[in-house]
């Protein structure tokens, strides 16, 4: 019992001592600090070289995070360091690929030894045992569902399209490039088969394609059909690592997509290809596949039409939304079979791949001269061709049965979702502007600048402007416009005068009434006159009101308000600038036209005189 007592006493003492001292909180032991880890610490923890760390980060999709309080996280250091989540790094610890990295390092050591000893036999033997890793599990891990993968497909597609155009040199090995080429072609084939193309845009950077797959919008850029300029200062190692992962991802996505349409994967052609010349049969098949101009073999054909694909249960309450969604779906369907029944022939100097892809994605038929590339289906002489796409104006247009048009027509039609009048796209004609389909503005928006071309296009889409007579209408407009303008100005002046007069008259009447009022003895209800408030006055009052109410914005929102305000102001300035510029340009063009017309007239006259 005595010992027990002693023990108790000791315990009590201990307790007191701890209480007296108080539990001090140390810096950097709790809170946000514990969530992050710097890059150097992470590298140390993983026991990897920096290069391997970079590789694993790229493959596993681990990226640095911006902490809320940098200084606090870095234990008082305000320098900018690369910070990762500690959890992410711990997650990396269990990655099997890291072992592959280590194996690879060992392999390289052996290899180097063999080389230095000039032991060719050994190095050859080692080469066959080169370790490699597969990224399947990482793809699965990063994209738990297929839709997730689709959502993140923009960058992979862009990079693969770039790589497929690169020359095979040491920095960009042939195997990668061929793989990229194969996968991009497969993807385009899927888009063709599924009619999933929504928007196309030819920019100075390249061709933007937007595709809708399973409700996800995927946009990518394909460079113009030239070998991209290879900058030597670019570190291709990083891009190669990305390409490695993207190839794996795209392969799995393609597989899944093909199987969703019951298409054979890897793609097989429906029709047997006749092998001409001495080329290898496989080569010819792959070339035909690459030409994008042959239907792919399907496992079985299902004829049942798909439904609208609108989630009606979500939109039940809002009938307007439902209506809008239905209209949209209808438009999409129209777009999908936009070129159905049309036969195109691509002349030389056109981008075969892009045009074939785009036209076939809208169910058109395409062909080209046999000598230009593999995969042409019908010759120029085919009478049933409806459109011949020509970029360089030719002197002879042999066939009356077809339109000769410039390639922009195809792209514009797809964006407009209707077949546009072809007159403006004849070869040699100055083309109408190619508008970006990705902008948000519509003809009714006021905050953004809407180019007049867009307004016209929308009118066409609505059916306000007749498609056939467009050209005539424009011409007549041009002719009449000058007179109209004069008239308009006159009328506006008159109107103004009238308005002023009205106002003055009313005022006078009011005064008269006021004078007369005292003379009226009987109480009566008179018909009141409408109080006309001047517009400027009204504006002024409104402005003042807003100014006063702006003063009442709470301080917390004031900064945001100011930011938004400056943004809006800039936007408004832009609108003004662009409209003014357009006006000037239009006027200049009009004057030019006038001049040319007068010259023509004078020439005619002179001819007549002669």
């Amino acid at each position: 019992t005595r010992d027990g007592l002693l023990l108790l006493l000791l315990l009590l003492l201990l307790c007191f001592s701890t209480k007296m001292a108080g539990i001090k909180k140390k810096k950097g032991e709790a809170g946000e600090v514990k969530k992050y880890i710097t890059r150097n610490a992470a590298v140390k923890k993983l026991q990897l070289s920096l290069r391997d760390f970079r590789r694993i980060c790229i493959l596993k999709g681990i990226y640095p995070r911006e902490p809320r309080h940098r200084k606090r996280v870095q234990k008082g250091d305000s320098k900018i360091k690369t910070l990762y989540f500690l959890k992410d790094i711990q997650f990396l610890l269990h990655e099997p690929i890291i072992w592959n990295f280590r194996e690879h390092r060992a392999f390289m050591r052996k290899m180097r030894k063999a080389w230095s000893r000039n032991d060719k036999q050994k190095s050859r033997k080692l080469c066959t045992q080169k370790p490699f890793y597969k990224l399947d599990h990482i793809v699965r891990e990063r994209y738990p569902t297929f839709v997730n993968a689709l959502r993140d497909l923009d960058d992979p597609l862009t990079l693969c399209f770039l790589f497929s155009k690169l020359p095979a040199i040491h920095r960009t090995p042939l195997a990668t490039i061929e793989m990229c080429r194969r996968l991009t072609i497969e993807f385009m084939h899927y888009v063709i088969e599924a009619n999933a193309l929504r928007k196309v845009f030819i920019s100075i950077k390249g061709y933007y394609y937007q595709v809708e797959i399973m409700g996800q919008l995927i946009t990518w850029i394909a460079p113009h059909p030239f070998a991209p300029r290879n900058d030597t200062h670019i570190d291709f190692k990083i891009m190669k690592i990305f390409a490695e992962f993207y190839i794996t991802l795209l392969g799995f996505v393609n597989f899944r997509l093909y199987h969703s349409l019951n298409i054979h994967y890897p793609p097989k052609l429906q029709d047997m290809v006749k092998s001409k010349g001495k080329k290898n049969r496989n080569e010819i098949i792959s070339e035909h596949v690459a030409s994008l101009n042959a239907p792919l073999l399907r496992n079985k054909v299902d004829d049942d039409d798909e439904e609208d694909g609108i989630d009606t249960h979500l939109l039940d309450e809002d009938t307007d939304q439902l209506q809008a969604a239905r209209e949209e779906a209808l438009k999409k369907k129209k777009q999908q079979c936009l070129f159905k029944g049309l036969k195109f022939f691509l002349n030389r100097e056109t981008n075969l791949e892009s045009l074939t892809f785009v036209i076939r994605a809208c169910q058109g038929q395409v062909s080209w001269d046999e000598s230009t590339a593999e995969g042409s289906t019908y010759p120029v002489t085919d009478e049933s061709i409806t459109h011949e796409i020509v970029d360089r104006p030719q002197k002879t247009q042999k066939y009356l049965s077809r339109y000769y048009i410039q390639p922009q027509w195809v792209y514009d039609c797809i964006n407009a979702r209707i077949l546009l009048p072809v007159q403006e796209y004849f070869p040699g004609v100055t083309l109408p502007a190619h508008l970006s389909p990705f902008t948000l503005e519509t003809a009714t928006t006021t905050a953004l600048y809407v180019p007049p071309e867009k307004k016209k296009l929308e009118a066409l889409q609505k059916g306000d402007l007749p498609l056939d007579q467009l050209q005539d209408v424009e011409d007549s407009e041009d002719e009449d416009s000058e007179d109209e303008e004069i008239k308009e100005s006159e009328t506006t002046v008159e109107e103004n005068k009238d308005k002023k007069c009205d106002v003055e008259l009313e005022e006078i009447e009011e005064v008269k009434e006021a004078v007369q009022n005292p003379s009226i003895e009987k109480m009566a209800v008179h018909e009141g006159s409408e109080v006309i408030v001047k517009k400027s006055e009204k504006n002024r009052r409104e402005k003042e009101e807003t100014r006063l109410s702006v003063m009442m914005i709470p301080r917390k929102q004031k900064r945001l308000y100011r930011i938004l305000r400056t943004k809006e102001r800039k936007e408004a300035e832009k609108v003004v600038r662009l409209t003014n510029k357009r006006k000037i340009i239009d006027e200049k063009e009009k004057q030019k036209k006038k001049k040319s017309r007068t010259i023509e007239n004078s020439q005619k006259r002179s001819v007549v005189k002669i």
Partner: protein, 767 residues
């Protein structure tokens, strides 16, 4: 194949042995070829029978040559005879050899050169080899040449004729040692009998010279370093030396352009040269190999050796998302923001207004070049994806209008002044202060032009103007209806003026005059020292009385403000530099003054009486203190939330007060809860003053930027309800002057009229 190959090799070996080196053999062959033309007739005579013979002979020859070799070794220089025999033998073997080699060739071109020719040729060879040797020695020891001849005629068969390189040393009896070791001795090595070999005689330089002149062969005599003898070079030797020096093949008859004959062809002969049967060894499997194979097989069986099978492909695609299992993901995944989609700007053929000036769009699609930054942009995107830190940022997708609070319409909150009614002009300088008579009929204004003017409000006429001796800082009407008295502050003085006009109530004026005619009786009141030194009350002089002065109070320092109590008997003056006497209380009826505070806490800016209760609000730079005058106690101390207070206004209800500051803010305080004032950020410049309307729920504030803002400020009896404040009107009219604009604001006592005095020497009425 291997068997045959081996046989060939052995025959070559034999040849080498016979002919003292492979090189020579080669040369012979070549030479014979050269001679083909001459010996064409004999060429095709060699039979296949001979081949057999040759093969038989081989063994014998081998033996012979061995003998010869052994003999050679023993030979000395003198034993020429034996050598001659040997030579003959050699010649024979050579002829046979030749045949052999000829038959080696598959071509079937045969030639049998004469023995004579052959011998000469052999000599040539020998000379050549010697000559090369000599050449070397010549270069090494050109200095000590000797003229001594060594008679070595090409005609006489030489004993060294058939020497191999090993045998060469035999002539040199000293071995392979430097010759200079024998410099001191008369001899040079020993012969077989153990006798000295005496060095050849060497003359001095004179002898040498004589020798050169006399001896016709001097030029071609060479000192052999190894034997220490002089050697005379023959013509053939010289020729060879010349050829070597001109970097040609030493043999003159060498044809550089002879067709190449591949002697040792890789092709297996159909009919092997030798008819030898394959050895047994070649049929019996090797035991070593068998053991090796067995060992490996055992290792494979045990699994010690693993052969890699078909390698797995790196890319193999299948349905990855077939199962629904969920793998662990990274913590809090944040998808990267998508690349911004292009607008019209980026079109290859945009609307013209989007292009920079003087730029034309591409006429057609074929003219569009490749984009040179494509790879770079792709690369930058990659870099961004893996190295850019990610953070969730709230993006506001609203327009600025959504943030503006919805206020009730100003029209619903009328009445309030909306427009400028009257402008009171007449002053010539800044009007510091204005005051309105409690009955609302007159307006008094004090200006820096040293005048006080009385205006009629309804017409805007100036009724009277009083010249005061200094700039007027403050004017304030006495609130009592029985007195017609105006308090004026100039420098250190406070003057009470009776500004009687023809419009004023005569009775009141008279009454006022009567009141101030005589000094009140002070009785036994003794003024305290503190007060006496600060304030002196005095009656105005006769001149001053005529001017309208009724009382003059002199202060010890300059006065800033005078504030009346609502009953009109008490008033307070503010002396900012007065330290502890900065606030003084005065009683008009008894001409008495008081110093209410012993201490001063900060610079006093303004003072105000509570409209209903006996409270005094004292505003220092950043604090407001409320005192209960009856109990002579501090009631409340309020932190003003303001760096420098400019004025204080108290709501007629008494529960709220307004503080304007030079830091551009207005603070609306509630007496009950002074911790959190309503901050009104109406102005962008210092707020000069603020004022409540006595009757309507209105208040106004004026700032240096030139704006007066009228607000609706409704106060509810319910304590829980916050005051309802809405700015309703913004009044602009005064002009800026020296950075000042509106200096004072006053409300009409019962009408919703606002009066403002400005630095532009005008007073404006807003209604």
């Amino acid at each position: 194949m291997s068997g045959k190959r081996k046989r060939q090799d052995t025959s070559e070996l034999q040849n080498n042995v016979f002919n003292g080196g492979r090189e020579i053999n080669c040369m012979v062959n070549i030479n014979t070829e050269d001679n083909e033309d001459t010996s064409d007739s004999e060429s095709s005579d060699i039979d296949e029978e001979d081949i057999e013979d040759v093969s038989d002979d081989e063994y014998e020859e081998e033996d012979d040559s061995n003998e010869a070799d052994s003999l050679d070794e023993d030979d000395t220089d003198e034993e020429n005879e034996q050598h001659q025999e040997d030579n003959e033998e050699n010649c024979d073997t050579k002829a046979k050899n030749k045949q052999h080699t000829r038959s080696d060739r598959d071509s079937g071109i045969d030639d049998s050169p004469n023995d004579k020719e052959e011998t000469t040729e052999d000599k040539y060879k020998l000379f050549k080899s010697k000559a090369t040797r000599r050449q070397i020695s010549k270069t090494k020891s050109t200095s000590d040449k000797d003229t001594q001849e060594c008679s070595q005629d090409p005609e006489i068969p030489d004993e060294y004729e058939e020497d191999s390189s090993d045998e060469e040393d035999l002539r040199n009896t000293i071995g392979n040692v430097p010759l200079k070791w024998y410099d001191e001795y008369p001899h040079l090595g020993y012969n077989l009998d153990g006798k000295h070999i005496i060095k050849p005689k060497r003359g001095d330089t004179l002898d040498n010279f004589l020798n050169r002149i006399e001896n016709p062969d001097f030029d071609r005599t060479v000192f052999d370093k190894q034997t220490g003898q002089d050697v005379r070079l023959s013509d053939a030797d010289l020729d060879i030396v010349k050829r070597v020096m001109s970097q040609k093949v030493p043999d003159a008859s060498y044809d550089y352009y002879a067709p190449w004959i591949d002697h040792f062809t890789y092709e297996v002969m159909e009919m092997p040269l030798s008819g030898r049967t394959d050895s047994k060894k070649s049929f019996v499997p090797s035991k070593d190999e068998a053991a090796y194979v067995a060992k490996r097989a055992e290792q494979i069986r045990r699994g010690l050796i693993q052969y890699t099978h078909k390698r797995e492909k790196k890319y193999h695609f299948y349905d990855l998302w077939s199962d629904k299992k969920r793998l662990r993901r990274i913590h809090d995944p944040m998808p990267a923001p998508k690349v911004k989609l292009p607008g019209h700007w980026f079109s290859y053929n945009p609307p013209r207004e989007y292009l920079p000036h003087f730029n034309k769009p591409f006429g057609s699609l074929r003219e569009v070049p490749g984009y040179k930054h494509f790879i770079h942009e792709c690369w930058e995107r990659c870099i961004d994806l893996y190295i850019a830190p990610r953070k969730r940022v709230l993006r506001v997708n609203a327009s600025s209008k959504d943030l503006i609070p919805v206020l009730p319409k100003a029209q619903d909150l009328q009445p309030f002044p909306t427009m400028e009614g009257l402008v009171f002009k007449g002053h010539r300088s800044i009007i510091r202060s204005i005051s309105i008579h409690p009955l609302g009929k007159f307006l008094a204004s004090g200006s820096d032009d040293q005048t006080v003017k009385i205006w009629e409000i309804s017409t805007g006429r100036c009724l009277r103007s009083f010249d005061i001796e200094a700039a007027v800082k403050w004017v304030a009407w006495n609130p009592s209806s029985k007195l017609f008295l105006l308090g004026i502050v100039i420098e250190k003085k406070v003057i009470f003026l009776n500004p009687e006009t023809y419009l004023t109530d005569k009775v009141v004026v008279k009454q006022t005059n009567a009141v101030f005619k005589e000094e009140p009786d002070q009785g036994d009141y003794i003024q305290p020292e503190r007060v006496r030194t600060a304030v002196t009350w005095r009656k105005p002089t006769a001149d001053e009385w005529a001017k309208g002065y009724r009382i003059v109070i002199d202060h010890f320092r300059s006065v800033k403000q005078i504030v009346w109590h609502k009953q009109g008997d008490y008033f307070a003056t503010v002396i900012p530099q007065g330290d502890h006497r900065s606030v003084l209380m005065h009683q008009l009826s008894r001409w008495r003054s008081q110093v209410p505070f012993n201490k001063c806490k900060g610079l006093v800016q303004a003072v105000q009486f509570h409209p209903k209760l006996p409270f005094l609000y004292v505003a220092t730079q950043s604090h407001i203190r409320v005192y209960n005058l009856q109990k002579q106690r501090i009631l409340k101390k309020v932190q003003a939330n303001c760096r420098w207070i400019s004025s204080i206004a108290i709501h007629p209800g008494g529960e709220h007060f307004l503080i304007s500051g030079y830091d551009c803010r207005l603070n609306w305080f509630e007496m009950e809860y002074t911790k959190r004032p309503r901050i009104l950020r109406y102005h962008k410049a210092a707020v000069r003053c603020a004022a409540y309307h006595r009757k309507y729920p209105l208040f106004a504030s004026a700032s240096d930027e030139g704006r007066v803002i009228v607000s609706h400020g409704m106060v509810y009896n319910d304590w829980l309800k916050d005051p309802f404040i809405v700015p309703v009107k913004e009044l602009k009219g005064h002009k800026m002057f020296e950075g000042l604009c509106v200096l004072d604001v006053t409300w009409h006592p019962y009408e919703p009229f606002l009066f403002t005095s400005g630095a532009d020497a005008t007073i404006r009425l807003w209604h």
